[in-house]
Protein backbone atom coordinates (compact mmCIF):
# COMPACT_ATOMS: atom_id res chain seq x y z
CA UNK A 1 0.00 0.00 0.00
CA UNK A 2 1.65 3.26 -1.11
CA UNK A 3 2.52 6.05 1.29
CA UNK A 4 0.10 8.21 -0.66
CA UNK A 5 -2.81 5.82 -0.07
CA UNK A 6 -2.00 5.43 3.60
CA UNK A 7 -2.03 9.21 3.96
CA UNK A 8 -5.30 9.43 2.13
CA UNK A 9 -6.69 6.82 4.50
CA UNK A 10 -6.01 9.19 7.37
CA UNK A 11 -3.12 7.33 9.12
CA UNK A 12 -0.60 9.99 10.28
CA UNK A 13 2.58 9.70 8.19
CA UNK A 14 4.75 9.34 11.31
CA UNK A 15 2.97 6.21 12.48
CA UNK A 16 3.10 4.53 9.09
CA UNK A 17 6.75 5.35 8.56
CA UNK A 18 7.60 4.09 12.05
CA UNK A 19 5.75 0.81 11.43
CA UNK A 20 7.71 0.26 8.27
CA UNK A 21 10.97 0.59 10.27
CA UNK A 22 9.88 -2.06 12.81
CA UNK A 23 12.57 -4.70 12.21
CA UNK A 24 14.60 -5.37 15.36
CA UNK A 25 17.65 -3.08 15.75
CA UNK A 26 20.85 -4.25 17.53
CA UNK A 27 20.23 -1.81 20.45
CA UNK A 28 16.91 -3.42 21.18
CA UNK A 29 18.38 -6.92 21.02
CA UNK A 30 21.11 -6.02 23.53
CA UNK A 31 18.52 -4.50 25.85
CA UNK A 32 16.35 -7.63 25.64
CA UNK A 33 19.32 -9.90 26.48
CA UNK A 34 20.25 -7.71 29.46
CA UNK A 35 16.65 -7.75 30.67
CA UNK A 36 16.63 -11.54 30.43
CA UNK A 37 19.77 -11.75 32.56
CA UNK A 38 18.29 -9.37 35.12
CA UNK A 39 15.07 -11.39 35.36
CA UNK A 40 17.13 -14.56 35.84
CA UNK A 41 19.11 -12.83 38.62
CA UNK A 42 15.85 -11.84 40.29
CA UNK A 43 14.30 -15.30 40.10
CA UNK A 44 17.32 -17.56 40.76
CA UNK A 45 20.23 -15.45 42.04
CA UNK A 46 22.19 -18.45 43.33
CA UNK A 47 22.61 -19.63 39.74
CA UNK A 48 24.65 -16.56 38.90
CA UNK A 49 26.36 -15.85 42.23
CA UNK A 50 27.45 -18.70 44.54
CA UNK A 51 28.60 -16.64 47.58
CA UNK A 52 26.09 -15.49 50.22
CA UNK A 53 25.21 -11.81 50.05
CA UNK A 54 25.18 -11.35 53.82
CA UNK A 55 28.24 -13.29 55.10
CA UNK A 56 30.62 -10.75 56.61
CA UNK A 57 34.39 -11.18 56.51
CA UNK A 58 35.81 -8.01 58.12
CA UNK A 59 39.42 -9.11 57.65
CA UNK A 60 39.02 -8.96 53.81
CA UNK A 61 36.98 -5.73 53.84
CA UNK A 62 37.31 -3.15 51.05
CA UNK A 63 39.16 -5.39 48.54
CA UNK A 64 39.30 -4.05 44.95
CA UNK A 65 37.57 -6.06 42.21
CA UNK A 66 39.74 -9.06 41.33
CA UNK A 67 39.80 -12.81 40.91
CA UNK A 68 38.24 -13.76 44.25
CA UNK A 69 35.61 -11.06 44.22
CA UNK A 70 34.61 -9.85 40.73
CA UNK A 71 33.05 -6.67 42.09
CA UNK A 72 35.34 -6.42 45.17
CA UNK A 73 34.16 -6.45 48.82
CA UNK A 74 32.36 -3.81 50.89
CA UNK A 75 33.17 -2.29 54.29
CA UNK A 76 32.10 -5.50 56.07
CA UNK A 77 33.98 -7.76 53.67
CA UNK A 78 30.76 -8.94 51.96
CA UNK A 79 31.04 -9.91 48.27
CA UNK A 80 29.62 -7.01 46.24
CA UNK A 81 28.90 -9.19 43.20
CA UNK A 82 26.74 -11.59 45.28
CA UNK A 83 24.96 -8.64 46.88
CA UNK A 84 24.25 -6.97 43.53
CA UNK A 85 22.87 -10.19 42.03
CA UNK A 86 20.77 -11.03 45.10
CA UNK A 87 19.73 -7.38 45.31
CA UNK A 88 18.08 -7.57 41.88
CA UNK A 89 15.04 -9.24 43.40
CA UNK A 90 14.47 -6.42 45.89
CA UNK A 91 15.05 -3.50 43.49
CA UNK A 92 12.97 -5.10 40.75
CA UNK A 93 10.29 -5.88 43.32
CA UNK A 94 10.16 -2.23 44.30
CA UNK A 95 10.24 -1.09 40.66
CA UNK A 96 7.90 -3.70 39.13
CA UNK A 97 5.53 -4.08 42.06
CA UNK A 98 5.31 -0.34 42.62
CA UNK A 99 4.70 0.35 38.93
CA UNK A 100 2.23 -2.52 38.67
CA UNK A 101 0.31 -1.40 41.74
CA UNK A 102 0.58 2.25 40.74
CA UNK A 103 -0.57 1.62 37.16
CA UNK A 104 -3.31 -0.76 38.31
CA UNK A 105 -4.64 1.78 40.80
CA UNK A 106 -4.32 4.53 38.17
CA UNK A 107 -6.24 2.56 35.51
CA UNK A 108 -9.17 1.96 37.86
CA UNK A 109 -9.02 5.57 39.03
CA UNK A 110 -8.71 7.07 35.54
CA UNK A 111 -11.37 4.85 33.97
CA UNK A 112 -13.82 5.53 36.80
CA UNK A 113 -13.28 9.27 36.35
CA UNK A 114 -13.68 9.08 32.54
CA UNK A 115 -16.78 6.87 32.60
CA UNK A 116 -18.68 8.42 35.51
CA UNK A 117 -20.72 11.61 35.23
CA UNK A 118 -19.40 15.16 35.62
CA UNK A 119 -19.65 15.08 39.43
CA UNK A 120 -17.84 11.75 39.87
CA UNK A 121 -15.17 12.89 37.44
CA UNK A 122 -14.64 16.19 39.30
CA UNK A 123 -14.36 14.51 42.72
CA UNK A 124 -11.91 11.85 41.52
CA UNK A 125 -9.74 14.35 39.70
CA UNK A 126 -9.65 16.77 42.64
CA UNK A 127 -8.57 13.84 44.84
CA UNK A 128 -5.79 13.10 42.35
CA UNK A 129 -4.80 16.79 42.44
CA UNK A 130 -4.72 16.68 46.24
CA UNK A 131 -2.25 13.78 46.19
CA UNK A 132 -0.25 15.42 43.39
CA UNK A 133 -0.12 18.58 45.48
CA UNK A 134 1.91 16.74 48.06
CA UNK A 135 5.53 16.65 46.90
CA UNK A 136 6.18 13.08 45.78
CA UNK A 137 8.89 12.41 48.30
CA UNK A 138 6.88 13.86 51.22
CA UNK A 139 4.01 11.51 50.35
CA UNK A 140 6.47 8.61 50.16
CA UNK A 141 8.04 9.58 53.50
CA UNK A 142 4.65 9.56 55.21
CA UNK A 143 3.54 6.28 53.63
CA UNK A 144 6.80 4.62 54.69
CA UNK A 145 6.27 5.81 58.25
CA UNK A 146 2.78 4.23 58.23
CA UNK A 147 3.49 1.09 56.20
CA UNK A 148 6.85 0.65 57.87
CA UNK A 149 10.29 0.73 56.36
CA UNK A 150 11.83 -1.91 54.15
CA UNK A 151 10.87 -3.22 50.71
CA UNK A 152 7.10 -3.38 51.36
CA UNK A 153 6.89 0.18 52.71
CA UNK A 154 8.95 1.53 49.83
CA UNK A 155 6.87 -0.32 47.25
CA UNK A 156 3.60 1.08 48.58
CA UNK A 157 5.12 4.56 48.92
CA UNK A 158 6.36 4.57 45.30
CA UNK A 159 3.05 3.12 44.05
CA UNK A 160 1.01 5.78 45.83
CA UNK A 161 3.44 8.35 44.42
CA UNK A 162 2.97 7.29 40.79
CA UNK A 163 -0.78 6.53 40.83
CA UNK A 164 -2.32 10.05 40.75
CA UNK A 165 -0.18 11.36 37.88
CA UNK A 166 -0.82 8.20 35.90
CA UNK A 167 -4.57 8.34 36.65
CA UNK A 168 -4.78 11.69 34.89
CA UNK A 169 -3.16 10.25 31.75
CA UNK A 170 -5.46 7.19 31.80
CA UNK A 171 -8.52 9.45 32.15
CA UNK A 172 -7.44 11.66 29.23
CA UNK A 173 -6.86 8.63 27.00
CA UNK A 174 -10.12 6.98 28.10
CA UNK A 175 -12.07 10.15 27.29
CA UNK A 176 -10.61 10.15 23.76
CA UNK A 177 -11.58 6.48 23.30
CA UNK A 178 -15.07 7.01 24.77
CA UNK A 179 -15.81 9.71 22.16
CA UNK A 180 -14.39 7.63 19.29
CA UNK A 181 -16.41 6.39 16.31
CA UNK A 182 -16.12 2.70 17.17
CA UNK A 183 -17.53 3.14 20.66
CA UNK A 184 -20.46 5.07 19.21
CA UNK A 185 -20.98 2.35 16.60
CA UNK A 186 -20.98 -0.28 19.34
CA UNK A 187 -23.67 1.72 21.19
CA UNK A 188 -25.65 1.94 17.92
CA UNK A 189 -25.31 -1.84 17.57
CA UNK A 190 -26.85 -2.24 21.01
CA UNK A 191 -23.78 -3.73 22.70
CA UNK A 192 -24.34 -3.46 26.51
CA UNK A 193 -22.25 -0.79 28.28
CA UNK A 194 -20.02 -3.04 30.47
CA UNK A 195 -19.09 -5.10 27.36
CA UNK A 196 -18.19 -1.89 25.48
CA UNK A 197 -15.90 -0.88 28.36
CA UNK A 198 -14.29 -4.31 28.49
CA UNK A 199 -13.89 -4.90 24.73
CA UNK A 200 -13.18 -1.40 23.43
CA UNK A 201 -12.44 1.22 26.08
CA UNK A 202 -10.01 -0.78 28.25
CA UNK A 203 -7.72 -2.24 25.54
CA UNK A 204 -7.53 0.95 23.52
CA UNK A 205 -6.81 3.00 26.65
CA UNK A 206 -4.01 0.73 27.89
CA UNK A 207 -2.24 0.20 24.57
CA UNK A 208 -0.61 3.64 24.22
CA UNK A 209 0.23 3.72 27.96
CA UNK A 210 2.62 0.76 27.64
CA UNK A 211 5.67 3.02 27.11
CA UNK A 212 4.62 5.38 29.88
CA UNK A 213 4.48 2.36 32.21
CA UNK A 214 8.03 1.33 31.27
CA UNK A 215 9.32 4.86 31.89
CA UNK A 216 7.47 4.82 35.25
CA UNK A 217 9.23 1.54 36.09
CA UNK A 218 12.56 3.33 35.61
CA UNK A 219 11.44 6.25 37.76
CA UNK A 220 10.10 3.90 40.47
CA UNK A 221 13.41 2.07 40.93
CA UNK A 222 15.13 5.46 41.05
CA UNK A 223 12.68 6.80 43.69
CA UNK A 224 13.16 3.61 45.71
CA UNK A 225 16.90 4.32 45.71
CA UNK A 226 16.24 7.92 46.83
CA UNK A 227 14.16 6.62 49.73
CA UNK A 228 17.03 4.33 50.74
CA UNK A 229 19.33 7.34 50.59
CA UNK A 230 17.05 9.13 53.07
CA UNK A 231 17.26 6.04 55.30
CA UNK A 232 13.68 4.94 54.70
CA UNK A 233 14.19 2.20 52.12
CA UNK A 234 15.34 -1.39 52.54
CA UNK A 235 17.02 -1.98 55.91
CA UNK A 236 20.51 -3.48 56.32
CA UNK A 237 21.67 -6.16 55.64
CA UNK A 238 19.15 -6.38 52.70
CA UNK A 239 21.26 -6.08 49.51
CA UNK A 240 18.84 -3.65 47.71
CA UNK A 241 20.65 -1.52 45.10
CA UNK A 242 19.43 1.78 46.53
CA UNK A 243 20.62 0.88 50.04
CA UNK A 244 23.98 -0.31 48.64
CA UNK A 245 24.32 2.97 46.75
CA UNK A 246 23.76 4.90 49.97
CA UNK A 247 26.23 2.83 51.98
CA UNK A 248 28.80 2.84 49.18
CA UNK A 249 28.54 6.57 48.62
CA UNK A 250 30.42 7.12 51.89
CA UNK A 251 33.40 5.15 50.53
CA UNK A 252 33.59 6.81 47.09
CA UNK A 253 37.11 8.09 47.58
CA UNK A 254 38.69 4.82 48.52
CA UNK A 255 36.32 1.96 47.57
CA UNK A 256 34.51 3.24 44.50
CA UNK A 257 33.32 -0.24 43.53
CA UNK A 258 30.85 -0.58 46.44
CA UNK A 259 28.63 2.17 45.01
CA UNK A 260 29.55 1.93 41.31
CA UNK A 261 28.26 -1.56 40.50
CA UNK A 262 24.77 -1.25 42.06
CA UNK A 263 24.50 2.19 40.37
CA UNK A 264 25.57 0.67 37.05
CA UNK A 265 23.03 -2.18 37.36
CA UNK A 266 20.28 0.27 38.37
CA UNK A 267 20.89 2.55 35.36
CA UNK A 268 21.29 -0.27 32.85
CA UNK A 269 18.11 -2.01 34.07
CA UNK A 270 16.15 1.20 33.62
CA UNK A 271 17.74 1.79 30.18
CA UNK A 272 16.98 -1.78 29.07
CA UNK A 273 13.38 -1.65 30.25
CA UNK A 274 12.75 1.72 28.58
CA UNK A 275 14.36 0.70 25.25
CA UNK A 276 12.35 -2.56 25.10
CA UNK A 277 9.19 -0.68 26.18
CA UNK A 278 9.68 1.99 23.45
CA UNK A 279 10.20 -0.71 20.82
CA UNK A 280 7.06 -2.60 21.88
CA UNK A 281 5.01 0.59 21.71
CA UNK A 282 6.40 1.58 18.30
CA UNK A 283 5.50 -1.88 17.01
CA UNK A 284 2.01 -1.81 18.59
CA UNK A 285 1.43 1.70 17.26
CA UNK A 286 2.65 0.73 13.78
CA UNK A 287 0.15 -2.09 13.57
CA UNK A 288 -2.84 -0.27 15.00
CA UNK A 289 -2.26 3.22 13.59
CA UNK A 290 -5.15 4.63 15.55
Amino acid sequence: MSVEQAVRAGAPIAAVRRARRGRVRPGVLAAAVLLGLILLAALAPSLLAHGSPTDTDPVHALQAPGGAHWFGTDQLGRDVFARVVHGTRYSLAIGAAATGAGVGLAVVWGLAAALSGRFGDAVLMRAADALLALPGLLLALMVVLIAGKGVLGTTIAVAVGTAPGFARVVRAQALVVRRSGYVESAVALGVPRPLIVLRHVLPNTLGPLLVLATVTLGASISTGAALSYLGLGAQPPTPEWGAMLTEGQGFLEQAWWIALFPGLLLVSTVLAVTVVGRHAQARAEGRAAS
Binding site: P12, I13, A14, A122, R126, A127, D129, A130, L131, L132, A133, L134, P135, G136, L137, L138, L139, L141, M142, V143, L145, I146, P164, G165, R168, V215, G218, A219, I221, S222, A225, A226, Y229, L230, G231, G242, L245, Q249, L252, G263, L266, V267, V270, L271, T274, V275
Partner: protein, 321 residues
Amino acid sequence: MTPPHISAAVRAVTARAGAAVLVVWGAATCAFLALHLIPGDPVSAIVGSNALVGAEQREEIRHHYGLDRSPLVQYGAYLKQLATGELGDSYQLQQPVSSLLADQIGPTAQLALWSSLVAVVLAATVTVLTSGRSRWPRRVSSAVELLVVSTPSFWLGIMLLTVFSFRLGWLPVSDSGDARSLVLPVITLALPIAAVLTQVMREGLLGALEQPFSLTARSRGLAEHTVRSRHALRHAALPALTLTGWFTGTLLGGAVVVENVFARSGIGRITLQAVSDRDLPVVQGVVALSAVVFVLVGAVVELLYVVVDPRLRKGTGVAAA
Protein backbone atom coordinates in the same frame (compact mmCIF):
# COMPACT_ATOMS: atom_id res chain seq x y z
CA MET B 1 -28.53 41.34 34.16
CA THR B 2 -24.80 41.20 33.57
CA PRO B 3 -23.96 40.35 29.96
CA PRO B 4 -23.59 36.55 29.56
CA HIS B 5 -19.83 36.47 28.99
CA ILE B 6 -19.01 38.46 32.17
CA SER B 7 -21.06 36.21 34.47
CA ALA B 8 -19.61 33.15 32.74
CA ALA B 9 -16.05 34.43 33.32
CA VAL B 10 -16.86 35.09 36.98
CA ARG B 11 -18.40 31.66 37.27
CA ALA B 12 -15.27 30.13 35.69
CA VAL B 13 -12.97 31.92 38.16
CA THR B 14 -15.08 30.98 41.20
CA ALA B 15 -15.24 27.38 39.97
CA ARG B 16 -11.45 27.31 39.69
CA ALA B 17 -11.02 28.98 43.11
CA GLY B 18 -13.44 26.45 44.60
CA ALA B 19 -11.45 23.59 43.04
CA ALA B 20 -8.24 25.12 44.40
CA VAL B 21 -9.63 25.28 47.94
CA LEU B 22 -10.82 21.69 47.57
CA VAL B 23 -7.30 20.59 46.51
CA VAL B 24 -5.61 22.38 49.43
CA TRP B 25 -8.19 20.95 51.85
CA GLY B 26 -7.69 17.46 50.36
CA ALA B 27 -3.90 17.65 50.64
CA ALA B 28 -4.08 18.96 54.22
CA THR B 29 -6.52 16.21 55.24
CA CYS B 30 -4.27 13.56 53.65
CA ALA B 31 -1.33 14.89 55.67
CA PHE B 32 -3.40 15.01 58.89
CA LEU B 33 -4.67 11.44 58.41
CA ALA B 34 -1.24 10.15 57.42
CA LEU B 35 0.50 11.64 60.43
CA HIS B 36 -2.20 10.44 62.82
CA LEU B 37 -2.07 6.93 61.37
CA ILE B 38 1.63 6.71 62.11
CA PRO B 39 1.98 4.30 65.06
CA GLY B 40 3.52 5.60 68.28
CA ASP B 41 2.97 8.44 70.66
CA PRO B 42 3.82 11.87 69.24
CA VAL B 43 5.01 13.09 72.65
CA SER B 44 7.97 10.74 72.61
CA ALA B 45 8.73 12.04 69.13
CA ILE B 46 8.76 15.56 70.57
CA VAL B 47 10.90 14.58 73.50
CA GLY B 48 13.26 12.44 71.47
CA SER B 49 14.78 9.20 72.61
CA ASN B 50 17.70 10.46 74.73
CA ALA B 51 15.96 13.02 76.94
CA LEU B 52 15.67 12.71 80.73
CA VAL B 53 11.94 13.43 80.99
CA GLY B 54 9.66 11.92 83.61
CA ALA B 55 6.12 10.62 83.03
CA GLU B 56 4.21 13.59 84.41
CA GLN B 57 6.26 16.00 82.33
CA ARG B 58 5.21 13.97 79.30
CA GLU B 59 1.58 14.60 80.25
CA GLU B 60 2.45 18.30 80.60
CA ILE B 61 3.79 18.35 77.05
CA ARG B 62 0.83 16.31 75.74
CA HIS B 63 -1.58 18.87 77.18
CA HIS B 64 0.48 21.86 76.03
CA TYR B 65 0.22 20.76 72.41
CA GLY B 66 -3.40 19.72 72.77
CA LEU B 67 -2.56 16.18 71.85
CA ASP B 68 -4.83 14.89 74.58
CA ARG B 69 -7.97 16.08 72.71
CA SER B 70 -9.98 13.71 70.50
CA PRO B 71 -8.69 13.44 66.92
CA LEU B 72 -11.82 15.12 65.58
CA VAL B 73 -11.33 18.16 67.82
CA GLN B 74 -7.68 18.30 66.81
CA TYR B 75 -8.74 18.14 63.13
CA GLY B 76 -11.15 21.03 63.65
CA ALA B 77 -8.51 23.12 65.40
CA TYR B 78 -6.03 22.24 62.66
CA LEU B 79 -8.37 23.40 59.89
CA LYS B 80 -9.07 26.64 61.78
CA GLN B 81 -5.32 27.16 62.08
CA LEU B 82 -4.92 26.51 58.36
CA ALA B 83 -7.66 28.99 57.47
CA THR B 84 -6.22 31.73 59.65
CA GLY B 85 -2.68 31.03 58.43
CA GLU B 86 -1.51 30.66 62.02
CA LEU B 87 0.09 27.23 61.85
CA GLY B 88 0.99 26.65 65.50
CA ASP B 89 4.45 25.92 66.89
CA SER B 90 6.95 23.32 65.73
CA TYR B 91 7.49 20.61 68.36
CA GLN B 92 11.24 20.26 67.77
CA LEU B 93 12.24 23.80 66.96
CA GLN B 94 9.75 25.36 69.38
CA GLN B 95 9.20 28.18 66.91
CA PRO B 96 6.03 29.32 65.12
CA VAL B 97 5.80 27.29 61.94
CA SER B 98 4.70 30.32 59.92
CA SER B 99 7.87 32.28 60.73
CA LEU B 100 9.95 29.14 60.21
CA LEU B 101 8.50 28.59 56.71
CA ALA B 102 8.68 32.31 55.93
CA ASP B 103 12.44 32.54 56.31
CA GLN B 104 13.10 29.14 54.76
CA ILE B 105 10.97 29.63 51.64
CA GLY B 106 13.46 32.12 50.18
CA PRO B 107 16.29 29.69 49.32
CA THR B 108 13.88 26.97 48.14
CA ALA B 109 11.97 29.39 45.90
CA GLN B 110 15.29 30.67 44.53
CA LEU B 111 16.41 27.08 43.83
CA ALA B 112 13.04 26.09 42.32
CA LEU B 113 12.72 29.13 40.05
CA TRP B 114 16.26 28.90 38.72
CA SER B 115 15.91 25.15 38.19
CA SER B 116 12.62 25.57 36.29
CA LEU B 117 14.15 28.28 34.08
CA VAL B 118 17.25 26.20 33.34
CA ALA B 119 15.16 23.07 32.72
CA VAL B 120 12.84 24.78 30.24
CA VAL B 121 15.61 26.65 28.35
CA LEU B 122 17.79 23.52 28.23
CA ALA B 123 14.87 21.37 27.02
CA ALA B 124 13.92 23.87 24.29
CA THR B 125 17.47 24.21 22.96
CA VAL B 126 18.16 20.47 22.99
CA THR B 127 14.80 19.83 21.32
CA VAL B 128 15.53 22.24 18.45
CA LEU B 129 19.11 20.99 18.09
CA THR B 130 18.24 17.30 18.04
CA SER B 131 15.16 17.38 15.79
CA GLY B 132 17.12 18.12 12.65
CA ARG B 133 17.33 15.89 9.61
CA SER B 134 20.27 13.69 10.75
CA ARG B 135 19.33 10.89 13.14
CA TRP B 136 22.46 10.42 15.24
CA PRO B 137 22.16 13.59 17.40
CA ARG B 138 18.66 12.45 18.33
CA ARG B 139 19.85 8.94 19.24
CA VAL B 140 22.73 10.26 21.36
CA SER B 141 20.50 12.80 23.08
CA SER B 142 17.75 10.30 23.92
CA ALA B 143 20.35 7.89 25.37
CA VAL B 144 21.70 10.70 27.59
CA GLU B 145 18.15 11.66 28.58
CA LEU B 146 17.38 8.09 29.62
CA LEU B 147 20.64 7.97 31.56
CA VAL B 148 19.79 11.19 33.45
CA VAL B 149 16.20 10.15 34.16
CA SER B 150 17.23 6.83 35.63
CA THR B 151 20.08 8.23 37.81
CA PRO B 152 18.88 8.99 41.35
CA SER B 153 19.27 12.72 41.97
CA PHE B 154 21.37 12.32 45.15
CA TRP B 155 23.92 10.38 43.11
CA LEU B 156 24.00 13.07 40.45
CA GLY B 157 24.46 15.73 43.15
CA ILE B 158 27.35 13.97 44.84
CA MET B 159 29.08 13.23 41.53
CA LEU B 160 28.85 16.92 40.50
CA LEU B 161 30.07 17.99 43.94
CA THR B 162 33.02 15.60 43.95
CA VAL B 163 34.20 16.70 40.50
CA PHE B 164 33.43 20.42 40.33
CA SER B 165 33.65 21.47 43.94
CA PHE B 166 36.14 19.23 45.70
CA ARG B 167 38.46 18.09 42.87
CA LEU B 168 38.49 21.18 40.66
CA GLY B 169 37.41 23.63 43.32
CA TRP B 170 35.59 25.83 40.81
CA LEU B 171 32.36 26.08 42.79
CA PRO B 172 31.83 26.43 46.56
CA VAL B 173 29.67 23.89 48.37
CA SER B 174 26.94 25.96 50.00
CA ASP B 175 27.53 29.53 51.00
CA SER B 176 24.22 31.34 50.65
CA GLY B 177 26.05 34.64 50.24
CA ASP B 178 27.91 33.38 47.21
CA ALA B 179 25.76 33.04 44.04
CA ARG B 180 28.13 30.43 42.62
CA SER B 181 26.95 28.00 45.27
CA LEU B 182 23.62 27.92 43.44
CA VAL B 183 25.04 26.47 40.21
CA LEU B 184 25.46 22.80 41.18
CA PRO B 185 22.16 22.38 43.07
CA VAL B 186 20.26 23.98 40.18
CA ILE B 187 21.90 21.65 37.67
CA THR B 188 21.17 18.60 39.85
CA LEU B 189 17.49 19.55 40.17
CA ALA B 190 17.04 20.82 36.60
CA LEU B 191 18.70 17.99 34.62
CA PRO B 192 16.16 15.18 35.28
CA ILE B 193 13.27 17.57 34.63
CA ALA B 194 14.86 18.86 31.41
CA ALA B 195 15.44 15.27 30.25
CA VAL B 196 11.75 14.36 30.45
CA LEU B 197 10.66 17.74 29.03
CA THR B 198 12.97 17.28 26.04
CA GLN B 199 11.51 13.87 25.24
CA VAL B 200 7.96 15.24 25.30
CA MET B 201 8.83 18.44 23.39
CA ARG B 202 10.80 16.61 20.71
CA GLU B 203 7.85 14.26 20.10
CA GLY B 204 5.62 17.36 19.78
CA LEU B 205 8.05 19.17 17.48
CA LEU B 206 8.60 16.21 15.13
CA GLY B 207 4.81 15.82 14.91
CA ALA B 208 4.42 19.54 14.07
CA LEU B 209 7.09 19.31 11.35
CA GLU B 210 4.92 16.77 9.54
CA GLN B 211 1.82 18.99 9.65
CA PRO B 212 0.60 20.73 6.46
CA PHE B 213 1.40 24.23 7.85
CA SER B 214 5.09 23.24 7.98
CA LEU B 215 4.89 22.27 4.32
CA THR B 216 3.33 25.68 3.55
CA ALA B 217 6.10 27.40 5.51
CA ARG B 218 8.73 25.51 3.50
CA SER B 219 6.90 26.42 0.29
CA ARG B 220 7.44 30.08 1.21
CA GLY B 221 11.23 29.54 1.01
CA LEU B 222 11.92 29.27 4.76
CA ALA B 223 15.07 27.39 5.81
CA GLU B 224 14.40 24.19 7.79
CA HIS B 225 15.74 25.59 11.07
CA THR B 226 13.48 28.65 10.76
CA VAL B 227 10.47 26.38 10.25
CA ARG B 228 11.56 24.52 13.41
CA SER B 229 12.10 27.51 15.66
CA ARG B 230 9.36 29.88 14.38
CA HIS B 231 6.53 27.40 13.80
CA ALA B 232 7.16 23.92 15.21
CA LEU B 233 8.70 24.87 18.57
CA ARG B 234 5.56 26.66 19.71
CA HIS B 235 3.52 23.54 18.94
CA ALA B 236 6.06 21.48 20.89
CA ALA B 237 5.37 23.65 23.96
CA LEU B 238 1.72 22.49 24.14
CA PRO B 239 2.32 18.89 25.27
CA ALA B 240 5.05 20.13 27.68
CA LEU B 241 2.57 22.44 29.39
CA THR B 242 0.34 19.49 30.26
CA LEU B 243 3.09 18.14 32.57
CA THR B 244 2.67 20.89 35.18
CA GLY B 245 1.36 18.63 37.96
CA TRP B 246 4.34 16.32 37.56
CA PHE B 247 6.72 19.28 37.11
CA THR B 248 5.86 21.02 40.39
CA GLY B 249 5.76 17.74 42.30
CA THR B 250 9.23 16.72 41.06
CA LEU B 251 10.58 20.20 41.83
CA LEU B 252 9.39 20.16 45.46
CA GLY B 253 10.29 16.49 45.97
CA GLY B 254 13.70 16.95 44.37
CA ALA B 255 14.41 19.96 46.58
CA VAL B 256 14.30 17.67 49.64
CA VAL B 257 17.18 15.55 48.32
CA VAL B 258 19.19 18.40 46.73
CA GLU B 259 19.02 20.60 49.84
CA ASN B 260 20.22 17.65 51.90
CA VAL B 261 23.15 16.80 49.60
CA PHE B 262 24.28 20.41 49.07
CA ALA B 263 23.60 21.41 52.69
CA ARG B 264 21.41 24.28 51.52
CA SER B 265 18.83 25.71 53.88
CA GLY B 266 15.27 25.44 52.63
CA ILE B 267 11.83 23.90 53.00
CA GLY B 268 12.98 20.51 51.72
CA ARG B 269 15.46 20.03 54.52
CA ILE B 270 13.00 20.99 57.22
CA THR B 271 10.37 18.66 55.72
CA LEU B 272 12.69 15.67 55.87
CA GLN B 273 13.67 16.50 59.46
CA ALA B 274 10.06 17.15 60.48
CA VAL B 275 8.72 13.90 59.05
CA SER B 276 11.37 11.72 60.71
CA ASP B 277 10.89 13.64 64.00
CA ARG B 278 7.08 13.36 63.58
CA ASP B 279 6.91 17.16 63.94
CA LEU B 280 3.19 17.39 62.97
CA PRO B 281 2.73 21.19 62.77
CA VAL B 282 5.74 21.65 60.46
CA VAL B 283 4.71 18.80 58.14
CA GLN B 284 1.15 20.10 57.94
CA GLY B 285 2.47 23.63 57.33
CA VAL B 286 4.68 22.39 54.48
CA VAL B 287 1.82 20.39 52.98
CA ALA B 288 -0.51 23.40 53.02
CA LEU B 289 2.22 25.55 51.47
CA SER B 290 3.02 23.05 48.71
CA ALA B 291 -0.70 22.58 47.96
CA VAL B 292 -1.13 26.34 47.55
CA VAL B 293 1.99 26.51 45.36
CA PHE B 294 0.67 23.58 43.29
CA VAL B 295 -2.66 25.31 42.72
CA LEU B 296 -1.05 28.68 41.91
CA VAL B 297 1.38 27.13 39.42
CA GLY B 298 -1.54 25.19 37.89
CA ALA B 299 -3.50 28.41 37.39
CA VAL B 300 -0.48 30.23 35.89
CA VAL B 301 0.17 27.40 33.46
CA GLU B 302 -3.49 27.29 32.44
CA LEU B 303 -3.15 30.99 31.53
CA LEU B 304 0.07 30.23 29.67
CA TYR B 305 -1.71 27.44 27.78
CA VAL B 306 -4.35 29.88 26.53
CA VAL B 307 -1.66 32.41 25.56
CA VAL B 308 0.20 29.82 23.49
CA ASP B 309 -2.90 28.25 21.90
CA PRO B 310 -5.36 30.98 20.76
CA ARG B 311 -7.92 28.30 19.85
CA LEU B 312 -8.73 27.99 23.55
CA ARG B 313 -9.37 31.67 24.08
CA LYS B 314 -12.94 32.31 25.24
CA GLY B 315 -13.73 35.31 23.09
CA THR B 316 -12.71 33.67 19.81
CA GLY B 317 -15.89 32.04 18.48
CA VAL B 318 -16.12 31.46 14.70
CA ALA B 319 -16.66 34.83 12.95
CA ALA B 320 -19.35 34.77 10.23
CA ALA B 321 -18.25 34.38 6.60
